[in-house]
């Protein structure tokens, strides 16, 4: 799938002017509140018309103001999970879920009702009306409704915002499966850097109605960190190859160009490539190899750059045999360890510091199986 967007739309006091293209399976729209994310997916879905511009999916033109083309919403077959759930109040949950079913051509109906209901945990709500649902229940039903219409493209506007962490952890792998197995391309609006890091193949960063950065996740996420420095969310992305299980300890041995890793809860087959996100705040630096420590992952490397961060801290970038790893340390420590470009250091990463929510499978390995 390829999505090409180039639109301008002004509403009183706000102008959206966004151009991006993505051939990715999950394109994340990321940006602060009021940056125009919802407006942008409204334009893609057809709920809003651009003043000028063009939107095309796989060479099918949805809108082209110059050519005076504007495919009506209902012919686009673009599923939309709204920021507010927008369920039909007069229909039961079951009827809401089944609403879109009949409009998709029979051959295109890929959605499996039973599986989706089960995954979303809404089986016990089927006979209720939306007015009788809690906030989180509503948003789950809204996800189910959009999916069961078997859309060709799925727009999700902060679908998980109303969900608790446990629920989120259940649904994230499911979204990955949609992305990887069912090949439904997804445009995903989120505030959460974690979610974006885990899910996105491509990222569009928005601010004030403009695209700040766009491209494959690997390329954009580090820039995202730069912007998000103050939030303590700087991180590095490392690609690991599964080597062998260590069944007696429930761990798995993996290898990156920088060295060997031992991680818990990896269930991928040997040879699989995984991408992991390592938050800069989770990396400790040491001039000596730590002895008798609980940290299992110690990589040898050398400082490549030191950037001050606020008044007390610094971001230290290392090269560990080809892996670029960023650590966030106090200036005091950087000074005490006498760090400067070229200084050899050890990066110490606790295995449990790997956040499952930011671990993503590479090349269609279903992440759901990957994470317990």
């Amino acid at each position: 799938m390829s999505l090409e967007v180039s639109v301008q739309r002004a509403v009183s006091g706000f102008t959206l002017d966004a151009t991006f293209a993505s051939a990715g399976r999950l394109t994340a729209l990321f940006g602060p509140s009021g940056s125009g994310k919802t407006m942008l997916i409204n334009l893609i879905s057809g709920l809003m018309r651009p003043d000028r511009g063009r939107i095309a999916i796989d060479n099918t033109v949805l809108v082209d103001t110059d050519a005076r083309i504007a495919v009506p919403i209902y012919k686009r077959r673009i599923g939309y999970v709204f920021q507010d759930a927008r369920l039909f109040p007069h229909l039961s949950v079951r009827q809401n879920l089944r609403f879109g079913r009949f409009f998709a051509p029979r051959t295109d109906r890929w959605a499996d009702e039973a599986a989706i209901i089960d995954l979303l945990g809404i089986g016990h709500l089927l006979d209720r009306r939306p007015g009788m649902l809690s906030g989180g229940e509503k948003s789950r039903v809204a996800i189910g409704r959009a999916l069961l219409a078997s859309p060709r493209l799925l727009l999700m506007d902060e679908p998980l915002a109303a969900l608790d962490d446990a629920r989120k952890r259940e649904i994230l792998p499911f979204i990955e499966r949609l992305r990887d197995e069912l090949k439904v391309p997804i445009v995903y609006v989120s505030h959460s850097a974690q979610e974006v890091a885990r899910l996105a193949t491509d990222v569009v960063m928005m601010r004030d109605g403009r695209v700040l950065a766009t491209g494959p996740a690997e390329a954009v996420l580090p820039r995202l960190d730069t912007l998000a420095e103050e939030s303590g969310e700087s991180s590095s992305l490392i690609t690991l190859t599964v080597a062998e299980p260590m069944p007696e300890w429930g761990l798995t041995r993996l290898r990156s160009s920088g060295g060997e890793w031992r991680l818990a809860r990896v269930q991928a087959a040997a040879g699989t490539k995984l991408r992991v996100r390592i938050r800069a705040r989770d990396v400790m630096l040491s001039r000596l190899r730590p002895e008798q420590s609980s940290a299992l992952n110690v990589l040898e490397g050398a400082v490549t750059a030191i950037a001050p961060l606020g008044e007390a801290e610094a971001l230290v970038t290392l090269d560990c045999g080809g892996d670029a790893i960023t650590a966030r340390v106090t200036r005091l420590s950087a000074d005490a360890l006498e760090l400067s470009p070229g200084t050899p250091v050890f990066a110490v990463v606790k295995s449990v510091s790997f956040d499952p929510a930011s671990t993503a499978a590479i090349r269609g390995v279903p992440s759901a199986d990957l994470l317990a």
């Binding site: 879905s45 057809g46 919403i73 209902y74 039909f88 109040p89 007069h90 409009f103 409704r145 959009a146």
Partner: protein, 233 residues
């Protein structure tokens, strides 16, 4: 309660009024809905003209409306002649004509109630239906219409009630033929025109009220049932 005893002719007026009112209501429902939808959601030149035409029967004295119906839907009227010739539909001096007159008189009330309810439906929900693949027509049928059902019911009941009371346009258009076009209001009117006719008028008025109230109560119960489906908190 002897005076409550209705004569056979009065009974036939009662039956006829129910028949005429029901038909007037049911037959104008689809058109009423379509016009209400147009007025609520449409944007087209001549919208205010359409709106004006819909309101005309309210603005015109009923006798004038009846006379205009006679001119257009009568045997020699343009529309009436056409319908009689091509479809065999005859209004003049028939109960169908009474139903037509009642429908016309009730139409503005019906349309306004429906229109209000349609306008109150959140368009975001219609858009949501569109994203799920529902065409505008389907969306209207499965989202807008059910959500505006209270207004549809209200419109229908207003039309029915008006039809139960309508008299000026009906009698002018199809006159007052017992068993064919003599509805309850015509019968009541006749009573009021003769000295001492009050009891007769009162009796028939009571019957008319009972029928219309029954319809009202039924419609309210129905509306409550719809309403309960949306209860929140």
């Amino acid at each position: 309660m002897d005076w409550l005893q209705l004569s056979p002719e009065e009974w036939s007026a009662v039956r006829l009024s129910i028949k005429v009112s029901s038909w007037a209501t049911l037959a104008s429902l689809p058109l009423g809905l379509a016009v209400a939808l147009l007025l609520a959601r449409g944007r087209f030149p001549g919208k205010s003209v359409l709106n004006g035409i819909v309101h005309l029967p309210l603005i015109l004295p009923p006798v004038v409306t009846g006379y205009l119906l006679l001119l257009s839907f009568g045997r020699r009227g343009v529309v009436g002649g056409f319908l009689a010739e091509h479809f065999g539909i005859v209004f003049s001096f028939r109960w169908t004509g009474a139903a037509l007159a009642c429908a016309v008189m009730g139409f503005p009330l019906m349309v306004r109630a429906m229109r209000l309810s349609i306008e109150a439906v959140d368009r975001k929900l219609e858009r949501a239906a569109n994203t799920l693949g529902a065409s505008p027509l389907v969306t209207f049928l499965v989202v807008t219409l059910p959500l505006s059902l209270p207004g549809v019911v209200a419109g229908a009941i207003l039309c029915f009630a008006k039809a139960m009371g309508e008299f000026g346009a009906t009698i002018t258009f199809v006159s007052n033929i017992p068993g064919e076009t003599q509805t309850l209001p015509s019968a009541i009117y006749t009573f009021t025109q003769v000295p001492g006719g009050e009891t007769g008028a009162l009796r028939l008025t009571a019957v008319s009220i009972v029928i219309a109230m029954a319809a009202l109560v039924a419609s309210e119960a129905f509306a409550r049932r719809i309403d309960r489906r949306f209860t929140v908190e």
